[in-house]
C-alpha cells in the first residue's frame, strides 16, 4: 500500500474529494498546515506596522491506496487540485509497511 500525501489549496478540497469519490475512494484524512514556498503570502497591517506573511494556509490530504490504484489516484488528485497558479502544492508518495483497521483488526488492502 501507498500513502499519498497532497498539499493543496484549501478551496480545492471539494474538487479533490469529488474526483476521488467517482472511483469509489471514500476515505481520507485531512489537516490544516501552513505552506512556505514560492507563493507569497499577503500583506497585513496593524496600526501602521506592515508586514508580509510568508506562510500560506494549505490543506494536507492523506490517502492510503492499494499499489494498483496509485497512479490513477495521483493523477486524479493532481488534476483536481490544479489551478495553474503558483502555490498549487505538491503530492508525494510513501510506501507503507502495514495498515490496520482499528475497528476490526483487518490488515493490508482489506483495511483501506
Amino acid at each position: 500500500m501507498k500513502l499519498i500525501v497532497a498539499i493543496i489549496k484549501p478551496f480545492k478540497l471539494e474538487d479533490v474529494a469529488n474526483a476521488l469519490s467517482k472511483i469509489d475512494i471514500k476515505g481520507m484524512t485531512v489537516s490544516e498546515v501552513q505552506g512556505y514556498g514560492r507563493q507569497a503570502g499577503h500583506t497585513e497591517v496593524y496600526r501602521g506596522a506592515e508586514y508580509q506573511t510568508r506562510f500560506v494556509p494549505k490543506l494536507k490530504v492523506e490517502i492510503v491506496v492499494a499499489d494498483e490504484a496509485l497512479d490513477e489516484v495521483m493523477e486524479l488528485v493532481v488534476t483536481a487540485a490544479r489551478t495553474e497558479k503558483i502555490g498549487d502544492g505538491k503530492v508525494w508518495v510513501i510506501d507503507l509497511d502495514e495498515l490496520i483497521r482499528v475497528r476490526t483488526g483487518e490488515r493490508g488492502i482489506d483495511a483501506i
Binding site: 499577503h42 506592515e50 506562510f55
Partner: protein, 421 residues
C-alpha cells in the same frame, strides 16, 4: 427653558444604549459570517457609525425633522444644518411635552436610530459587498431613503404622521425600511459563490449571542426611550419589549421543534430579535397580552419567512428581509388589531377600534416598504454600474478581511505566524 432632568437623563441614557446597539449588531452579524469575513462585517457596521453620525448633525437630521419643505410632508429643509437653530423645538410638536427635554437630546436620540437602520442592511449583502461602494451606498441611502421615510413617519409634519399612522419606535422607519432595503440590495448584488449548496456556517455563535445580548439590552433604550420621558408609558414600552422578545424566542424554538429539528441557540436569539423587531412599532400601544401575541406571532412568522429566500433564490445572507422586513410588518399591522387605549389611547379592532387604523398602518407599510425597496434598488444598481458593487471572485475565495482590509481576525495558534513572517 425649564427642562425635566429625569426625562432628560432617561432619553440621554436611552440614546447611549441605542448607539451601543450598532456594535452589538456588528457582533451579531460578525459571529454569523465565516472567519475570513468577520472583520469586513464589523468594519461596515463601525463605519456606519462614523458616516451617519456626521451626516446626521449636518444634514439628515434637518431633512428628517426640519421645517417641512413646501408643506407636502415629504422632506424637511436644511433649517437645522450643522445643528443651527437647535434650541428651537422640533417643528410641528406642540403642547406640554414639547420642551420637557432639550431639543438637542432629541437630536441625539433620533441619531441613534439613523445609525442603526443602515447598519441592519449590511446583513443581507454579507461576504461580498466591496468597501468603497459600500461607503457611497450608505451616504446616498441615508439622504435619499432614511431621511424622507423618517420625515414621513416621525416628523409631526410628515404625511404619514398626519394620516395618524402609529409607529412608536420605528417599525416603519427602522425595521421595514432596512428590511426592504436589504432585500433589494441582496437582489442587485447577487448570490455568494456556492450559495445555497455550500455550507456557510457561523464562525462564532458565542459572538453572535454576545451581539444578541447587547441588542436586547439596547432595545430598552430604543423602545422605552421612545416615550421621550421616564414615565408609565416608558414602563409599558419596556415591559412589552421584554415580553415580546421572550415570546419571539420561545415560539421560534417551538417552530424548530415542530419542523422536526433540534432547538438551536441561534434560533433562540433570532426569535428574540424577531419579537423585538415586531414590538418596536407597537410597544407603546399594546398591553402585555398584545405584546405576547405579537412576540409569539413574530417568532413563528419570521422563522418561516427566512426559509423563503431559498425558494426565491435571493441570498439575503443574514435574513434582513425575513426578520426585519417581515417582523416590522407584523408589528406595524398588529397595532391595528391588538392596540388598546388602556395603554395609550388607540384601540385595535379587537378592542373595538375602527378598521381605519389598520388601513392606515397598511398604507404606511406599503409606502415605506415599496419606497425603500425601489429607491435602494436604484441606488445599488447605479453604484453597480458605475463603481461596481461586488468584490472579485478571488477576494471572495480568499476572504474579505485580508483582501479588503489587510487584516486577519484571529491568530490563536500563533506560534507559526509569530515566529516567522
Amino acid at each position: 427653558m425649564n427642562f425635566n432632568s429625569g426625562d432628560t437623563a432617561w432619553v440621554l441614557i436611552a440614546g447611549a444604549l441605542v448607539i451601543f446597539m450598532t456594535p452589538g449588531l456588528a457582533f451579531f452579524y460578525g459571529g454569523m459570517v465565516r472567519s475570513k469575513n468577520v472583520l469586513a462585517m464589523l468594519m461596515q457596521n463601525f463605519v456606519v457609525m462614523g458616516i451617519v453620525s456626521v451626516l446626521w448633525v449636518f444634514v439628515t437630521y434637518s431633512l428628517a425633522f426640519g421645517v417641512d419643505l413646501g408643506g407636502f410632508g415629504v422632506i424637511g429643509t436644511l433649517h437645522f444644518f450643522g445643528l443651527g437653530h437647535i434650541t428651537q423645538a422640533v417643528p410641528g410638536y406642540s403642547g406640554p411635552l414639547t420642551q420637557h427635554i432639550p431639543p438637542l437630546v432629541f437630536v441625539i436620540f433620533q441619531m441613534s436610530f439613523a445609525i442603526i437602520t443602515p447598519a441592519i442592511i449590511t446583513g443581507s449583502s454579507a461576504d461580498r459587498l466591496a468597501f468603497g461602494p459600500f461607503v457611497v451606498f450608505i451616504i446616498l441611502w441615508s439622504i435619499l431613503v432614511y431621511a424622507p421615510v423618517a420625515h414621513w413617519v416621525f416628523s409631526p409634519n410628515g404625511w404619514l404622521f398626519k394620516l395618524k399612522v402609529e409607529d412608536f419606535a420605528g417599525g416603519n422607519v427602522v425595521e421595514i425600511n432596512s428590511g426592504a432595503a436589504g432585500v433589494a440590495l441582496a437582489i442587485v448584488i447577487g448570490k455568494r459563490r456556492g450559495w445555497p449548496h455550500k455550507p456557510m456556517a457561523p464562525h462564532s455563535v458565542p459572538l453572535a449571542l454576545l451581539g444578541g445580548g447587547i441588542l436586547w439590552f439596547g432595545w430598552f433604550g430604543f423602545n422605552a426611550g421612545s416615550a421621550l420621558a421616564a414615565n408609565t408609558l416608558a414602563a409599558h414600552a419596556f415591559i412589552n419589549t421584554n415580553t415580546a422578545g421572550a415570546c419571539g424566542m420561545l415560539s421560534w424554538l417551538v417552530f424548530e421543534r415542530l419542523r422536526g429539528g433540534k432547538s438551536t441557540t441561534l434560533g433562540a436569539v433570532s426569535g428574540a430579535v424577531a419579537g423585538l423587531v415586531a414590538i418596536t412599532p407597537s410597544c407603546g400601544f399594546v398591553d402585555i397580552f398584545g405584546a405576547s401575541a405579537i412576540g409569539l406571532i413574530a417568532g413563528l412568522v419570521c422563522a418561516y419567512a427566512i426559509t423563503l429566500k431559498f425558494k426565491a433564490g435571493v441570498d439575503d445572507a443574514l435574513d434582513v428581509g425575513g426578520v426585519h422586513l417581515v417582523g416590522g410588518i407584523v408589528g406595524t399591522l398588529l397595532i391595528g388589531v391588538v392596540g388598546t387605549s388602556a395603554v395609550s389611547g388607540i384601540n385595535g379592532i379587537l378592542y373595538g377600534g375602527s378598521a381605519l387604523l389598520l388601513l392606515h398602518q397598511l398604507i404606511a407599510v406599503l409606502a415605506c416598504g415599496l419606497y425603500s425597496f425601489s429607491m435602494t434598488w436604484l441606488i445599488a444598481k447605479t453604484i453597480d454600474k458605475t463603481m461596481g458593487l461586488r468584490i472579485s471572485q478571488e477576494q471572495e475565495n480568499e476572504g474579505m478581511d485580508t483582501s479588503l482590509h489587510a487584516e486577519s481576525a484571529y491568530e490563536f495558534g500563533s506560534s507559526i505566524l509569530e515566529a516567522f513572517k
